[in-house]
Amino acid sequence: MLTLTSPIETPLHELPAAAKLAALAGFTFALFLTGSPLWLGAALLLVAALHLTGGPRFARHGLAMLRPLWPFVAVVALWHLWVGSPAAGLAVILRMLAAVAAANLVTMTTRLSDMISVVERLAAPLAPILPPRRLALAIALVIRFVPVLSGRIDQIALAFRARSARRVSWRILAPAALAALDDAEHVAEALRARGGAG
């Protein structure tokens, strides 16, 4: 399945995932310490410069990942223009863009396998209640079953259309959930037959 990791190799891909995550945490925390548009603008410029180290195509992709934020930008901008505090509004918008863009940058430059090994290391102290093998198995099962369930829902929708002239609607919800329940029983049986989930 597709991940959000960028196929365009950048120098940032080479850095260890844990270091990037720690830097991101520090950066995001720092963003909330200041309310000055000047500092926040500088932070956003820094993130933009880091995006540009991956070349123009990489940077454009990063910009596209910010698209879901535009409605919030519009609402905040209109609100602050209305109450007459444009500087405060600018700070909020800059902080939001910088925080999200920085987090996206880490996601775009870190492979799924590297992310998973960081999670494994972080989850190590939880081993008595959550064995790492079980967590890895759960992650793998979800990744495997998203396309499977997606195909099942398409089939259910086709069957619905064959029987009814009405639009496919929420009516396929219960069959979809039943499909997930049935698949879960089969997976559980298969796991038990192969020696359990560890």
């Binding site: 597709l2 991940t3 959000l4 990791t5 995001t28 990942m65 910010l66 879901p68 934020l69 919030f72 609402v75 905040v76 405060a88 700070a91 909020v92 939001m96 925080a99 999200v100 987090a103 996206n104 880490v106 996601t107 870190t110 799924l112 992310m115 998973i116 079980r134 198995l137 759960a138 992650i139 099962l141 979800v142 990744i143 079953f145 998203v146 369930l149 997606s150 829902i153 929708a157 639009r167 496919v168 609607s169 929420w170 396929i172 919800l173 219960a174 979809a176 959930a177 039943l178 329940l181 698949d183 879960a184 029983e185 997976v187 559980a188 049986e189 796991l191 038990r192 359990g196 989930a197």
Partner: protein, 180 residues
Amino acid sequence: MERSLAHIALFAALIAVLGLVPKIDLAAGIPITAQSLGIMLCGTVLGARRGGLAVLLFLLLVALGLPLLSGGRGGLGVFAGPSVGFLIGFPVAAFVAGWVVERTTLAPLWAAMCGAVLGGIGVLYAFGIPGMALMLDKSLTEASYLAMAFLPGDLIKAVLAGFATQAIAKARPGALLSRA
């Protein structure tokens, strides 16, 4: 053990798939993302503990960088955005929805509907609104105005979650783990 794990993983996948299908038109052809419906169903069908864990697993995969949130969003960026409160509230919402179904003796339809309203709307907004207020630097009242835009859609979803849970209870009485 294997059964719990399989249910948790499969329902985490179901949440993702419901977010990927933009084809589900609700009544009157309004396309509403079915993702939060998936969150409600996790609780009402799997019960509090397994439902909450399924949502946590789903969020972990989103954080790892899989584009599983509705609209193909994902990665760490969504946890730095204005909707972070809603994401944090998701597992708690599923837990509360499941808890209501487990602890009441109402018929599945009403139990699930109440659970979905309490968990999927009450609890979820209790996390989402402060999150939005913090990230957008607004007061709680101002943030709740923004959240009110989602209320009609979420009420419809709570009703649908009730009906879906009832249909599952009828088709596979033993499969409704929240009542098992």
